[in-house]
């Protein structure tokens, strides 16, 4: 399966709670091209995980549109969502062992993750050994997950996430609690997947190096896309409603209520403090 494009438009998500509603996402606009690698970064509570949950179909947006390839996942049925999670979407939760049956062998975990795909499009299902080879786990198929070192366990989690050959891999904190060597192994594995399969990869991370390594890092701040970094450069992003978030370091000098003059000319857009 080739990569799937992702398109979010004015995505809003509100958590209903007894003590009052909490707005987790307040108008996210995001486009991810098929086969692209992207890191979602930002402080805790900014809405990264909520966005991943929406992309993986675990939750439905309160408003707005989330489109994975041709499918608006806010409108499809639960059964169709289940099918998509078994075929088109690979989800890797934070913490490798949360994604795996710790007592089962690596092969059993992969077998379980392939069941839906094997039913729906068996031709696309790769042999487990091939997946293990892709992730540098050759010879580990019969080992139990709980016996694996952390880096290998994370790669196994990714292997399970891509076992059904999804077009989109959503991965939450792929490198947390890993040493440098293990982190590199994991990032190499993601590169390999993206390169060989064209899988679109969206990773949530706190680690700026990961963002840099993936090539495109979208910063989520206060439930919105706050900025985007590409190839070492940081960009502000204009949302579909025309809003632009200023970088935090700029905001320190521009308190709320400050009036700015927007000047445009010669291909430049300037904000001038009155």
């Amino acid at each position: 399966m080739t990569g799937l494009a992702v398109r979010c438009r004015r995505v809003l998500h509100i958590y209903r709670a007894d003590g009052g509603d909490v707005v987790a996402l307040s108008g996210v606009d995001l486009d991810i091209a098929a086969g692209e690698k992207l890191a979602l970064v930002g402080p805790s509570g900014s809405g990264k995980s909520t966005l991943i949950a929406l992309l993986s179909g675990l939750m439905r947006p309160s408003a707005g549109q989330v489109r994975i390839g041709p499918v608006d996942i806010g409108r499809v049925s639960d059964a169709e969502l289940a099918r998509m999670r078994g075929t088109d979407l690979g989800v890797v939760l934070q913490g490798a062992r949360r994604n795996l049956l710790p007592y089962a062998s690596v092969l059993s975990n992969i077998w379980l993750a392939q069941r839906r795909a094997a039913q729906v499009r068996p031709a696309d299902v790769e042999r487990p050994e091939r997946i293990l080879s892709l992730l540098g786990l050759v010879g580990m198929g019969h080992r139990r997950v709980r016996d694996l070192p952390p880096g290998a366990a994370q790669r196994v989690a990714i292997a399970v996430g891509v076992a059904a050959s999804p077009g989109l891999l959503l991965i939450d904190e792929p490198t947390s609690r890993l040493d440098r060597e293990a982190r590199d192994e994991v990032l190499d594995a993601l590169d390999t997947i993206n390169r060989e399969r064209g899988t679109t990869i969206v990773a949530v991370t706190h680690d700026p190096d990961v963002g840099a390594r993936l090539g495109r890092a979208v910063t989520i701040r206060d439930g919105r896309v706050g900025a985007e970094g590409r190839e070492g450069r940081e960009f502000a992003v204009v949302a579909s409603d025309g809003t632009v978030q200023l970088p935090p370091e700029v905001l320190e000098n521009v308190p709320p209520g400050t009036l700015l003059v927007v000047e445009q000319g010669d291909g430049r857009l300037s904000l001038v403090i009155e």
Partner: protein
Amino acid sequence: MTTLLWEMIRERRAAALITFLLTLAAAAAAAGGPVYHAAAAQSLRLDQIAQAPVTERVLTASQLTSADEATEARSTTLPYVAHMRTVYGLQLQGAAGGAQATDALLAARSGVCRELAVTAGRCAVADREAVLPDGALELLGVRLGGVLAFSAPGGDPVRFTVVGTYRRPDAADPYWADRVSLLGVEQPVLFVTDRSLEGFGGQATRTVDLVAEPAAFADTAGLAGRIEEAFKQLRAGGYAGSTLMPDLGERIEQGDRMLADTVTVAAVPLILICWFVLFLAVAAGVDQRREELGLAALRGTPGRLRWALPFGEVAVPVLAAAVPGLLAGYAATAALVKVVLPGSTVQWDGTSLRYTALAVLGALLAGAFAQVGALRTPVLGLLRRSGSPRRGRFATALEVAVGSLAAVAGYQAAAAGDAGGIGLLAPVCLGLACGLLGARLLPLVAARVARSALRRGRWRTGLAGFALARVPGTGRLVVLVTVVFGLLGFAVTAYDTAGRAWDERARVQTGAARVAVVQNASAVQLRSAVDAADPDRRFAMAVARYKGNQLPNIIAVDTTRLARVANWPDSAGMAPGAVAGLLRPVEPTAIMFRARKLVVEVTVDSPDPELSLQLRVLVISDRGLRHDLRMPGLRPGPQRLEADATLCDPEPCRLDEIQLQNMRTDQPRFDATIHAIRDETGRVLLDAAALGDVRRWSQPPASAARPVPALRGTPEGLRISVDSAVAADMRLSSAALPGPLPMAVTGPLRSPLLTATGGMELPVTAVATLGAVPRFGPQGALLDFDVAEYVLGRGTALTQPEVWLSADAPADAVDRLRRAGLTVSEEYTVAQRRAQISAAPRLGLWFALAVAAFAVLLAAIGLPALAMFERPGGDSGLSVLGEQGVRTRTLLLVSAGSRSALALAAAVAGLGSAALAWALARTVLPVFSDGDTTFTPPVLPEPGAVAGPVAAACAVLLLGCWSAAHVVRRRREEEQ
């Protein structure tokens, strides 16, 4: 899938083991119930057959051969019925011996040599050989090896060689088919071969007896048909027969039904409890691996596989437990049967297999049902371990359904008044309902108590209360413990009250510690034998039964010994001495005389010179037999009438009745005056004054259709005046007591008259109203033995004569009675009677107790087993407190305390449900084998009888709580 399934089971082998064991228990209970029922039914059947009278175990038929028919040939075909022995016999009445021949019976009976206990010589196996009963050699003047002549009426003597002697047969041996003539009570029986007997002419009796073996009653449904077939065949052969076998079959069937009901009442809840505990275990296990289920959902695993994998994890140990459960149930029940039902055999049948299959299917459904909630929860809910939003509504619907079921079952049990249908499940349904109510209330109460405790600074109590209120699954444990204690309380209460009912009924119905049943005795014989055996009036009492028109249960006892000998009912309401005084206010009087001839001086005055009367004097000899001395030819004018009375000398006779009989069809008026009664020497036995005392005489009640003559005492004697145109009842019976017959009754006296021997109706009066009388309990009446004999029996053979013996009667008391001339056919004790009336319910209640004990054990083991699935600390927050520095020991105490409080509160709720079930549905458990409703068992149990088992069960449960707290602590430590 198999690999993954195996990995899952291996990982959670403790859970699998628990599932395996719980299913094993359910399967064992399901298998054991029918096995126990079959063994208990067999034991009960054998017991009932052993205790049944011989008449209920045999079919007897006989025919007389014609006088000229030589008894040459037996019927061509004899009936054959499976499990019944066909015994053909031939009997010929005649006389044996030489010059002083004695009445004797010549008998042949198939298989007799196998049945006779030969005491000397051998059995008769060849023609013209005979065996005689012990003691008959002397009586007949013959020796062993000698020749004895036997002659049938009108026939020539036939000589037999006496080849042996035998011990008199036991009347209780069904081989003799209750044929008294063969027992040698009245005359010696000479057993010969049938060929020897067939050579005789004269009228003989041909007999065919079908003697049922116990196996004949195994299929009671087909018994009547088999008996009818045999009757048809016998009737075709010219035999007339009778049997009471269907009565026994009916009793056996009734006992079997009772047993089945009781076993159902016990076994079904046990299976339900096993299912419920299994459900709890699986539900707890599912809760523990919600994240894993969420993971499968996250991977989009197909629905069938999402179901199949966790279900397979439950199904494998469940199915694996099926066969071992079946075997374990069989083995455990066989062991139980060996202990409590020695002699019973345990057999396989298809029922066990079917019930086990049902139990396993139920276990599978319980396992599947436990997973429904988890599998319906959204993926994110599973990953975050939050519950299904629809669970609350489902639980409410379930509670409403259970509550309705309990109400219906309780109503049916209370209204129907006996076992059957859903009423049988009333105890468990009510336990469930109370458990669900308790599950609702307990968290609320616990939270309230906790808040109050915290306010008062008792933080440990407060923590325990909050833990109780917040830990999920608390409600299910409350339900489990409530149901278990409900069953325990119900079973223990039933056993205690039934036991006391058996004691009281056996004590009252037996009448005394021991009863000797006597055959063919008159009141005089019985009384004199008892006096001879127990001259000091310490331990024996003569008893007989009488019947009235609307009072079928009258027992006549020798009231002079009543207080000493009888088991006086607690509920009688009066002391036996006081009752005795009322029943025998004065010594009954009797007119006794000794004479070889009676001479009666009488004068008849009548306008009809053709009047012809007959004077009858009814006397009762010293053997207690009634004799009629008739003096016909009484005509107008003074006369002396004479009658032979040799039977009244040297032993005296009792004058029972004087009667004038009109020898013509019309009824003229006349006066008859009896002046005196003398003996053959002229000595006056009754003079004019004695005869003229009209209080000495009783007359039947007068009516227009049957008037009675007027009596008047005159200086000349007793004047009897008949002044009616219709036939008068001219019987004058000797009055034993002045006034009506005194009787102690247990209810209103519906008829003021009792019919005495000869059809004379006599007035009775209720002198005492008792709560119960010996033998018949709350539905009977009591008379004095002597008074009853003088007034009612009057020299006829007693109905059901017995001698009651007190507990301190000497061991040879019955032998003494036999030596005194009584034929004691049977004796039984209170314990035997108790065993008889309690047989079926006792077996069922034992099972119910065993089941209750097992259920308590299951609940106690279930607590730590369920704790193994619990997340460390659960949602109670206790583990967090541990991290915040609260000592582990304190947390352990709080954890154990909260569990113990839960268990004890639920136990109290269970006892409440038991009380409710007992109030509404105690009738679902039969108390007596015969279904008797006359004796009401006590409503309330002895507090001590219930408290002991309940305390023991509580201790076992608390031990389970303590273990559960330790399991949780250990798991927490392992997690850390």
